[in-house]
């Protein structure tokens, strides 16, 4: 009784390596999709279409191509850094320091 309680509690708290990897892949898929949309989508394929809107003195498509996509890249990396920080806590394993 006690051990099954512990097991139940554990699976909630400590993630298995397989689940950790799955969660990581899911996160990667979402972030890379956004990466693709803001650069290849807004900056290239849809750029001419977006140019009919403007952002201050910029045509919107031009802004994504020369400015916006870069800001987006920076934000994406930091989202990943924070998401992985939380995920690593769940797997509840001290990071091994290599050498």
């Amino acid at each position: 009784m006690k051990s099954s309680y512990n097991n139940f509690f554990k699976t909630n708290k400590i993630m298995s390596p397989q689940d950790y990897w799955k969660a990581n892949l899911k996160l990667l898929a979402v972030l890379l999709l956004i990466w693709f949309i803001i650069s290849f989508g807004f900056g290239i394929v849809l750029s001419d279409f977006l140019d009919q809107f403007s952002l201050g003195g910029f045509k919107l498509g031009f802004w994504f191509a020369q400015q916006g996509s870069i800001y987006g890249f920076v934000i994406l990396i930091f989202i990943y850094v924070f998401a992985m920080y939380r995920l690593e806590k769940k797997i509840n394993k001290k990071e091994e320091e290599n050498e």
Partner: protein
């Protein structure tokens, strides 16, 4: 104080700083020489990565290139930043967890094969030398224009400085000099950009001034630039001229290529923890973005300034910078209609790709050129795009110390990248070729000695490239990125994310990517350069973008060959499991 003296002082002080850091951070073990003892703070590593990454091409050439390309210039802006997302998400943390010294180390271990390691070493050396040649040319240009010394003397001084901190300090010395070089470089880039932004738009932030209205006018800068461009017979600045598929492929090849460049990847081996590798990639991109979001603004400002300060001015009254750059042959003027005024518009001014100067002077005092004029257009001006950033402060009439700063910044950009490249070349020779393949019995001290020797030899070769620049430097840049995208990136990515991929698949994939990409580029850039236009390209993809297709071919061949040959050994699967965990 003369601007020349100021430049000597700025450049001299920055060089003294780099050498001082080199002496302070000498490497005493192979661990320190290859990966700085894995003790670099992620923020410092981010700065070092940014300096390593932003070469003479980024600092000196990129804004100039964009100012003549207009919206098409976005391929460089997105291509050379987007790769960091791939690095942070797909490669850097896992390769750091793997915890060895070089990129071929990973490929050799993951694919349990010396052949795979050797293929990786070959690609790495080719990519890195291609790159170094460009850096040394940058050093030469800065020295000859600002310090008025012979290009050769400039290259030799640059070699001595790099020799000091690369050979003595290895990765440790390079890391901390790169931190200093980043600071010099970014300050030198932002100061003139802010000045010019204020002068043209009244907005002190170039990224915003770029989309702002001109001073004392309600016209937006970019609208004005579109107008000027169209009036002179160019395409509107904010519209693409390349086809969408070509822009797509070039951007992709540059992004995946960036993520596969060994000298960038190896920087993430130097941080203490796996999570630091991710953070460090984020900081690196912040530091890079500071310059990369400023560059398109500088491009637009300098284009407006350039056109307005020379168009329809008489040559005699033309600004000093025009004549200074003419003196070293990067600007030329041929008075085709003999009216004494400078006429700038779309079209090639004369036959040939570069001006050939005779010793005489023309009627207005300009340097006479021997090229046959092309008379179907009225353009009389030849300008080397590389000079825009360097000439910008002069064009905008900024004070002399700003020009001195830009000279020091250009040198910092070129030297930091050269050092990073020389290090990956030397470590792949001493570690991958000697220690791991041909001379496994050498001890650590001997390996360190060989690492220093190969760094010294690599510097000599790089210097020779600077003094006798091979004619093909510009063409081979496409090569470096194409090869990185079509060989190294897929091998690393599949090595981490697929456990099924075996050595046969990886080697076949790398060779297929290499052969396809190399032959396409050689065909259009070297054998039949007269055919290098969109009507002959495969699906309209230029040689610059072909690395993307090469990468897809690599993936396909690797998967196919793996599926019909045996599974990788169990130890490899265990290793992959291990690097996937934090």
């Amino acid at each position: 104080m003369s601007s020349q003296l100021l430049t000597y002082i700025f450049v001299g002080l920055s060089f003294a700083l780099y050498i001082g850091i080199a002496i302070w951070s000498r490497a005493s073990s192979t661990n320190e020489f290859y990966v700085a003892g894995k003790g670099v703070n992620p923020v410092a590593n981010g700065m070092a990565t940014a300096a390593d990454w932003m070469s003479a091409a980024s600092f000196i050439s990129m804004a100039g290139l964009i100012s003549f390309l207009g919206k098409d210039g976005a391929v460089y802006l997105m291509g050379w930043t987007g790769g960091y997302v791939l690095l942070a998400l797909l490669l850097a943390p896992y390769l750091r967890k793997f915890g060895q010294y070089t990129v071929p180390d990973f490929i050799g271990t993951r694919y349990y094969s010396k052949t795979a390691r050797l293929v990786a070493v070959l690609c790495l050396i080719f990519i890195s030398f291609t790159y170094v040649a460009g850096q040394m040319r940058g050093v030469g240009i800065v020295f000859s224009r600002f310090l008025e010394v012979e290009i050769n003397v400039g290259v030799i001084i640059g070699m001595i400085v790099v020799f000091f901190y690369a050979v003595l300090g290895g990765m440790k010395g390079i890391t901390y000099t790169q931190v200093a070089q980043y600071c010099v470089m970014i300050f030198a880039y932002l100061v003139p950009a802010i000045f010019i932004s204020i002068l043209i738009t009244g907005n002190p932030i170039p990224q915003l001034g770029f989309g702002d209205t001109l001073v004392n006018s309600s016209t937006y800068l970019l609208d004005k630039l579109d107008q000027l461009s169209v009036d002179l017979g160019f395409n509107a600045y904010t519209e693409n001229t390349k086809s969408n598929i070509d822009i797509f492929c070039i951007t992709a090849a540059l992004m995946f290529g960036t993520a596969g460049l060994p000298h960038v990847i190896v920087r993430f081996f130097t941080v203490p923890k796996v999570s630091d590798a991710r953070k460090s990639a984020g900081y690196a991109l912040v530091f890079i973005a500071l310059l990369y979001t400023t560059a398109p603004a500088v491009a637009a400002f300098s284009r407006v300034n350039f056109i307005e300060s020379i168009q329809e001015k008489s040559y005699i009254d033309s600004p000093d910078w025009f004549k200074n750059w003419e003196n070293i042959g990067l600007i030329a003027w041929q008075d085709k209609n003999e009216d004494g005024f400078i006429n700038y518009s779309a079209g090639k001014p004369f036959e040939g790709s570069r001006p050939i100067f005779s010793n005489g002077t023309g009627t207005q005092g300009e340097r006479e050129i021997e090229n046959t004029p092309i008379n179907d257009n009225s353009n009389e001006v030849y300008i080397d795009r590389d000079i825009m950033v360097l000439a910008n402060p002069e064009i905008a009439k900024l004070p002399a110390w700003v020009m001195a700063l830009v000279a020091a910044g250009g040198l910092a950009a070129a030297l930091s990248t050269a050092a990073g490249l020389l290090l990956v070349i030397s470590s792949s020779i001493s570690h991958d070729l000697l220690k791991k393949t041909f001379m496994p019995k050498i001890n650590e001290r001997q390996e360190l000695f060989y690492a220093r020797c190969s760094a010294a030899v690599a510097i000599l070769i790089a210097g020779l490239f600077g003094i006798y620049p091979p004619a093909f430097v510009a063409q081979v840049v496409a090569f470096a990125f194409g090869l990185a995208a079509s060989t190294i990136f897929p091998a690393l990515l599949l090595g981490i994310f697929s456990k099924r991929l075996n050595k046969e698949g990886a080697i076949a994939g790398m060779l297929a990517g290499l052969l396809f990409t190399a032959s396409y580029i050689i065909y259009f850039k070297f054998l039949f350069s007269e055919l290098d236009s969109s009507s002959y390209w495969l699906w309209g993809i230029s040689p610059e973008g072909i690395g993307f297709l090469g990468m897809i071919i690599n993936f396909a061949v690797a998967a196919l060959v793996s599926s019909v040959s045996s599974k990788p050994p169990i130890e490899v699967a265990q290793m992959v499991d291990k690097i996937r965990l934090p």
